[in-house]
């Protein structure tokens, strides 16, 4: 039985043969670079750690600010692909990384961060986004703009489950950020206890799994993560689950004692699971605890960043921790208000405090390197590039660099 792509390639070749570019907008540069940040928390594993990226380590100032798109209102972290920065909030905005100039933008019901996925046979990748209406596959090339309408033909390739109407929410980020791996998009289905795998090129559902068979819709998911062919996901109130990436079959599921299972960043050492009170390292193979730390916290949101040696997280109350990945022992801790979604690169860990203030800590000592307070809130978690940080700040997109 020929695959879909082979079938299409055969038919297409018979009809036309060549593979040259054709009906398209101005296809932007979407090639990858060492500074790409293709999804929230950087990679499918959700580590929030790009060893190749470098960020500022002393006081910062805006390298540029984009605030000229009047409909834009965002709170989710941007992503970077090549020389383009993509941000969501009432639509999709594509900016030049260098100076923040607008490449394209159009309105849409997109509130989450994006995830880049290969979308062969398309010439441009698909950007996955979510909102209260469902999961969407957007064209990273922007499509063919309709002048004067903030709309573009070919801008949205598909919409996925639950295929509902978008419902405005008072929550700045009402849905879970999707992730992508090897041409497939993964994310929870809004309003259900399900997670779903969707083909990035056509939007068809590869598999769909229910984490909680209760008829009552009760699962509140963290961002899913992927490591070595396994998808991990945590959900309120007690569950952490592992699914086979190919068919969605359950590999293991654990009912944890601590309430609020929030996230599952994963490395070779295991799966980091943060919860209301503390953090645990689970075996990726069977979900058994390797170590557990009760931080006496009260986190209801947020995630952890993980390097080869350390775990960085907030307890949701008043302390930010760096823990040893192997043992869970505290390396350092420092005062910090509420939950956060930290990212790490080149000796610094960056975290947004109370959705309003960006703080940088030295990875080794926890010493505060700088603090940035923007004029508006909310402030999204940052992404890290070549000496810069990029953030979404309500109606602005900001690039920060070290002050000269």
């Amino acid at each position: 039985m020929p695959s879909r792509r082979h079938l299409l390639a055969g038919v297409g070749t018979v009809i036309a043969g060549s593979g040259a570019a054709t009906v398209s907008g101005a296809i932007p540069e979407t090639t990858s670079s060492a500074f790409d940040w293709p999804m929230s928390q950087y990679d499918p594993a959700g580590t929030g750690y790009n060893p190749d990226a470098t960020g500022p380590t002393t006081e910062v100032e805006p390298a540029w600010v984009h605030e000229s798109t009047d409909w834009f209102r965002g709170a989710s972290p941007p992503i970077r692909l090549g020389d383009t920065l993509y941000a969501t909030g009432n639509g999709l905005l594509a900016l030049s990384v260098d100076d923040g100039s607008r490449n394209f933008g159009y309105r849409g019901p997109y509130t989450s961060s994006l995830a880049v996925a290969d979308a062969s046979p398309y010439q441009t990748p698909t950007l996955a986004a979510t909102s209260t209406g469902g999961i969407y596959g957007l064209n990273a090339g922007g499509g063919i703009e309709i002048p004067g309408f903030d709309r573009a033909i070919g801008s949205q390739r598909w919409s996925g489950p639950p295929n509902a109407d978008y419902r405005p929410s008072i929550d700045h980020t009402p849905t879970v950020n999707p992730i992508a791996d090897d041409g497939v998009v993964y994310g929870p289905v809004v309003g259900t206890n399900d997670i779903v795998a969707i083909e990035a090129n056509e939007g068809s559902v590869r598999w769909r799994a229910t984490v909680n068979d209760d008829e009552i819709i009760s699962a509140s998911f963290g961002r899913p993560t992927i490591h070595e062919g396994v998808l991990f996901i945590a959900n309120w109130p007690y569950q952490v689950s592992a699914y086979d990436l190919t068919d969605g079959s359950t590999l293991w599921q654990r009912e944890r004692d601590d309430q609020m299972q929030l996230c599952t960043p994963v490395t070779d050492a295991g799966v980091i699971v943060t919860s209301r009170n503390g953090v645990t390292l689970l075996s990726a193979r069977n979900g058994e605890p390797i170590w557990e730390r009760d931080l006496d916290g009260n986190a209801t949101d947020g995630t952890a960043a993980v390097t080869d040696t350390s775990v960085f997280l907030s307890d949701g109350l008043e302390t930010f921790y760096a823990l040893d990945l192997e043992t869970g022992e505290t390396r350092w801790s420092t005062p910090f208000d509420q939950e956060t979604k930290p990212v790490v690169a080149d000796g610094s860990v960056y975290a947004v405090e109370q959705n309003a203030s960006l703080v940088a800590f030295d990875v080794e000592t926890g010493t505060e390197q700088f603090r940035y307070d923007p004029p508006e809130v909310p402030l999204s978690p940052p992404i890290i590039g070549d000496g810069r940080l990029y953030l979404v700040n309500r109606n602005r997109v900001v690039a920060l660099e070290e002050s000269t």
């Binding site: 879909r4 792509r5 079938l7 299409l8 390639a9 038919v11 297409g12 070749t13 009809i15 036309a16 043969g17 060549s18 593979g19 040259a20 570019a21 054709t22 009906v23 398209s24 907008g25 296809i27 849409g108 062969s120 046979p121 398309y122 010439q123 441009t124 596959g137 064209n139 090339g141 499509g143 063919i144 309709i146 709309r151 573009a152 033909i153 070919g154 801008s155 949205q156 390739r157 598909w158 919409s159 109407d165 083909e199 090129n201 056509e202 939007g203």
Partner: protein, 285 residues
């Protein structure tokens, strides 16, 4: 069959009808064959469908083609959408007689494709539009027994293509309307229904008349005073189309064969049946 051929609508024709003035004309009609005068438009439509089995053939072929196209769409790596909603009660009415496929592909899916794949995807859509237009043209031609000119066919094809294109604009130009109140919904439905009724005869008028404006005018005038039966027919066609296509495997074939044929025959019959000039002539007698 009629003894006379009527090359265009300017001919004065008389209809064997009684639904307007209660009298029964005895003169012949292109859609009556002397011994078969019908007391209602519905009777004339059903008579045509019973007496001319070949009328079913064009849209049966279209149904088979749509089934094949559905298969290709479902097995290629390009986005598709279901042609209807998941609602149990939906009216899938199109102005032009068409078959209803299980899937459709919006314009969004064609952007940023390599040439070979784009050619494949566009070809699928062109084949469908061409087949549907040809089937509609043949069915109405055989129903009316009038030799439409080829030029009119191309106008018909262009009109059908335009509606086909509009239905597939995708996310860029969203034509969906979700009323916020019941009253707004009722008003919107009333306006849409009025327009649908007035344009009901437009596809067949294109084949009879010279020019789009003349065809629009003809459809508008001939549908006057027939709002209720035309609205009923639109609802029946729309309900049947959306419902039948949900049958597994044979949905597209059944939907096209039954609804497409019925729609095309109804257009051809009613265009003559609602000829205002004949109404006036008959009424004066």
């Amino acid at each position: 069959m009629s003894d006379e051929q009527h090359p265009n609508s300017s001919d004065k024709r008389e209809h064997g009808r009684s639904d307007i003035d209660g009298s029964q004309s005895t003169t012949s009609h292109p859609l009556s064959d002397g011994d078969h005068n019908h007391s209602s438009a519905l009777g004339a439509i059903l008579f045509e469908l019973r007496s001319k089995p070949r009328l079913w053939a064009p849209f049966f072929v279209v149904g088979c083609l749509l089934t094949a196209v559905d298969y290709l769409r479902e097995h290629d790596p390009l986005p598709i959408q279901p042609s209807g909603s998941e609602s149990a009660l939906q009216v899938s009415y199109t102005i032009f007689p068409t078959g209803t496929s299980e899937t459709m592909r919006s314009l969004d899916a064609f952007v940023d494709l390599p040439l070979g794949v784009l050619a494949y995807a566009v070809s699928l859509e062109l084949v469908v539009v061409g087949a549907v237009a040809t089937a509609g043209w043949l069915t109405m031609k055989h129903t009316s027994d009038i030799s439409f000119r080829l030029r009119q066919f191309f106008v018909y094809l262009a009109g059908l293509s335009l509606f086909y294109f509009l239905a597939r604009l995708g996310s860029a130009v969203n034509l969906d309307y979700a009323p916020r109140t019941l009253l707004a919904g009722i008003i919107a439905l009333a306006i849409l229904s009025f327009i649908a009724v007035r344009l009901f005869l437009f596809p067949v008028a294109i084949l009879h008349e010279k020019g789009i404006v003349t065809a629009l005018r003809a459809s508008w005038h001939r549908s006057k005073s027939h709002g209720a039966p035309l609205f009923g027919l639109i609802v029946i066609l729309g309900l049947a189309s959306g419902r039948i296509v949900q049958f597994p495997v044979v949905g597209a074939v059944l939907s096209s064969t039954i609804v497409g044929t019925l729609h095309a025959v109804a257009l051809a019959v009613l265009y003559d049946w609602y000829d205002e000039s004949t109404v006036n002539t008959t009424a004066k007698r």
